[in-house]
Amino acid sequence: MSELNNTNQEKKEILNSQEKKLIIDGKRLDGRTENEMRELKLSANVLNSANGSSYIHWGKNKIVVGVYGPKECLPKHTADIFKSIIKCTYRMAPFCSAEARDKPGPNRRSIELSKVISNVFEGLVATEAFPKTEIDVFIEVLQSDGGTRCASITAASVALAHAGIPMKDMVVAIACGKVDGKIVLDPSKEEDNFGESDIPMAITVHSKKFMLLQLDGKVKREELEKALDMALNSVETIYKKQRNALENVYSQTLDEEIEAELIMD
């Protein structure tokens, strides 16, 4: 609740101030510099019944991802006889943001994100290995604060790897924004809403290919190039968190065993 009050206060302050500045003395609203990410926590193996699962806590975003499959593709007319279909379902919980929802069910935004995220993973997963099947990726947004599509892709990549589904590469996603005429990394909700531009990107870790590049607003060519560089530089940082999340699933029991062996000796 305190977080919600804070954001509302921050919004009011922005609206009331005559200058309407989002970057003051090189510091952004939450005290970050232009080239700094929000705090990121990732963990895998959070759901019992799913084949693979992960939980991401990125800034104020909280997202759970579950992966099921490969299983029989239903309805059957959606199946492809040569490859597996990736069905991502992005869903925002009714309580995930400060704005009230007008009606239940998928809205324009969640349909778009489901499609966009499915496309990212269709290029990455070795779909030819499982003809006529589907792989379900359920993305549940519990709390949103700008950049949920990037957080979802980063978490879904971990969940798919945890499910043991063959993939060509891991993918990380991060957004850049244009705020007060400056390119900033990982914009928060306020910067996204009151800034000039938002550029979410998904990049494969080893081959450095762009799997997603969306652009909202206007930027110059040089600014876009700067944003791409910024995103590419932060790939390693996010990948380390993904790696840690997957290693932790298996290292916990490994450590216990090391102690037991020492006692036995």
């Binding site: 299983k71 993939m167 060509k168 590469d169 870790v205 081959s207 290693e247 029991t253 090391i258 037991a260």
Partner: protein, 209 residues
């Protein structure tokens, strides 16, 4: 400890030629480099997958459940995306829906549809499902782990490569508990000792009762 976990996309560097690599864990990219495609573990000079779906091979022994009876064949549920087919000419018995069978994979077509042969009806008993990648660990070297459990708990166990395990006889709850423990800790070193200790404890308890 030379255990290391690999993520999809990482390159396999074969510095040691004695390295045994399970072919399901990698793919070859456009520059002819071997890259991981599954979450894998390096241990004792061999690389094994940590998790993943069952990939059928001809000759695998599998456990299935009859899910439908057709004119000339049976549909068999096999813990994979599609049910396998058991031609009726393979057996002189009439199976009913729900019958547990063990069979051999005889044919796999390009759509990964499985044709079964040499069926054997498993009357009574129960089946549990575990991750197919943990099956080698449950069997142990030359089936030592499985024989250990069978002998100590005095029950029948048949392991299907598809991740279904059939159990019959005495002490089924204890056997299931141990199999689930092996599944969750398959990557842990010294698991055999741990299982031996557990079985000894269970045996003592059973003797008291």
């Amino acid at each position: 400890m030379n255990d290391k976990i690999f993520l999809p996309g990482e390159e396999i560097i074969e510095s040691d030629s004695s390295l045994k690599i399970n072919p399901v864990v990698y793919y070859v990219d456009e520059k002819n480099r071997k890259r991981f495609q599954r979450l894998s573990l390096l241990r004792d000079n061999s690389i094994i997958p940590l998790k993943g779906p069952y990939i059928p091979r001809i000759g695998d022994q599998i456990i299935g459940v009859i899910s439908d009876v057709k004119f000339a064949y049976y549909d068999v549920e096999l813990n994979v995306a599609f049910s396998g087919i058991l031609p009726a000419r393979e057996t002189k018995f009439d199976f009913r829906v729900g019958q547990i069978i063990s069979a051999i994979v005889e044919e796999i077509d390009e759509n990964l549809e499985i044709t079964l042969g040499k069926p054997r009806a498993l009357r009574r008993g129960t089946i549990i499902s575990i991750d197919p990648t943990k099956i080698p660990r449950i069997l142990g070297k030359e089936d030592t782990m499985l024989n250990l459990i069978k002998n100590k708990l005095n029950c029948e166990i048949i392991v299907g490569k598809n991740g279904y395990i059939w159990l019959n006889g005495e002490n089924i709850p204890h056997a299931i508990e141990i199999l689930k423990l092996i599944e969750s800790q398959a990557h842990v070193r010294g698991l055999t000792n741990k299982i031996e200790n557990m079985l000894a404890e269970i045996n003592q308890e059973l003797k008291k009762n």
